[in-house]
Symmetry: C2
Amino acid sequence: MNSEPKKTKKELNPNVSVDCVIFGFDLNQLYVLLIDSGNTEGYQQSRMAVPGDLIFDTENLDEAARRVLKELTGIENIYLEQIGAFGDPNRIGKKESDRKWLESIRAQPEARVITVAYYSLVKMPNFNPKASSFAKSAGWAPITEINDLAFDHYEILESALEQLKRKIKIQPIGFNLLPEKFTLSQLHKLYECILGKDLDKRNFRRKILNLDILTNLEEKQIGVPHKPSQLFKFNEENYEKLSLEGFDNFGF
Amino acid sequence: MNSEPKKTKKELNPNVSVDCVIFGFDLNQLYVLLIDSGNTEGYQQSRMAVPGDLIFDTENLDEAARRVLKELTGIENIYLEQIGAFGDPNRIGKKESDRKWLESIRAQPEARVITVAYYSLVKMPNFNPKASSFAKSAGWAPITEINDLAFDHYEILESALEQLKRKIKIQPIGFNLLPEKFTLSQLHKLYECILGKDLDKRNFRRKILNLDILTNLEEKQIGVPHKPSQLFKFNEENYEKLSLEGFDNFGF
């Protein structure tokens, strides 16, 4: 226990935090950016979490999310979208390892903390996390291998993934995640990774081509150990239009 | 200024509130449930707001939203969906009338408050608001006549409306808002009210019928002063299915 509150010059708000779920894609699978928030006395195991921390009273929520992500992982300049607030009264105090950690780091470890969660999806190789602040390490974990996280972070991760799944039903995805020239198989793989299930290839091709966001480059892959596939790029104008309007399938 | 904090037995969290945007539909237009949060000394004009208040430290956010809505307006048993958190550091302190009001009612009027917003859409005549707690009055205001609200509530209202517009692009709407037997014109009107624009009638009919959520009752309106229209009801099974899955137009 701390007799004196640990506060920076700017006041940390003891009741509100932000958490960032950053998904990464490397053409093969989906990853999540995790930090090891550090051992605490008597708890030797690592304590994996998504990057998050209390907000300053002078910053808005979006600013707080960007700052916290940068402080803990060095990652910046990515678009973070708010998922919503998580406010179970016991969300951070259920596990003893969480309580010990809070006591070791927070000025008011008993305070109730509501967190506002954000998410993003980035091209993984472009972002090399570097741990700092209370993060002992930071790195990309394959989503399929994550089964437990600090606090309610696993629940927040699930919620972020649901949001991402909903989003790709009404907006195109892939720009900035694939090479400039890509194959339909690569795009197909991205959708399969996000949705977490196999998608019929023929149906996928038909549907994605119907969106009119792809330009057939009339050229094929070079130097691949299999029959080279047709290369495509995104039609930026149409992609942008659908991103703004959504697929708008119902047509209003 | 208050020398002694006004607190109930349960502790109010000074930094987190909930706000509820309740849309009502009466077959003709869209309304919003507003309260007059009361005059404060030197401010004679009424102070319209959406129902909202600080949360208790013992309740989760959904519970807080339901409690606050009931306390201020008597309205209960409606499904509230979270929109997200609003956390501009100056969101409640910009206007002098807001600051005066906070001083008159809050134990810590200077505290920064992040709010978590919720929304719902209900059949208006079924819900008669009754003001209580600090609400001096509560009632339905036509959305087209609202142009200013307390704090950042106008911004929250706009955000809720955007959410509602996005929702009706991917999920059916109308159940519990229309009579059991309704005409396509009535459903058309509902969509126009939410989207705030005219929709081509013929296109609307074609699209809504394509969703396969309507059953043609093979009967017509009785006792109307115009040519009676065909009556429909929702096919509950298909409606439910699309509500869960979304229109899923991209087909995954």
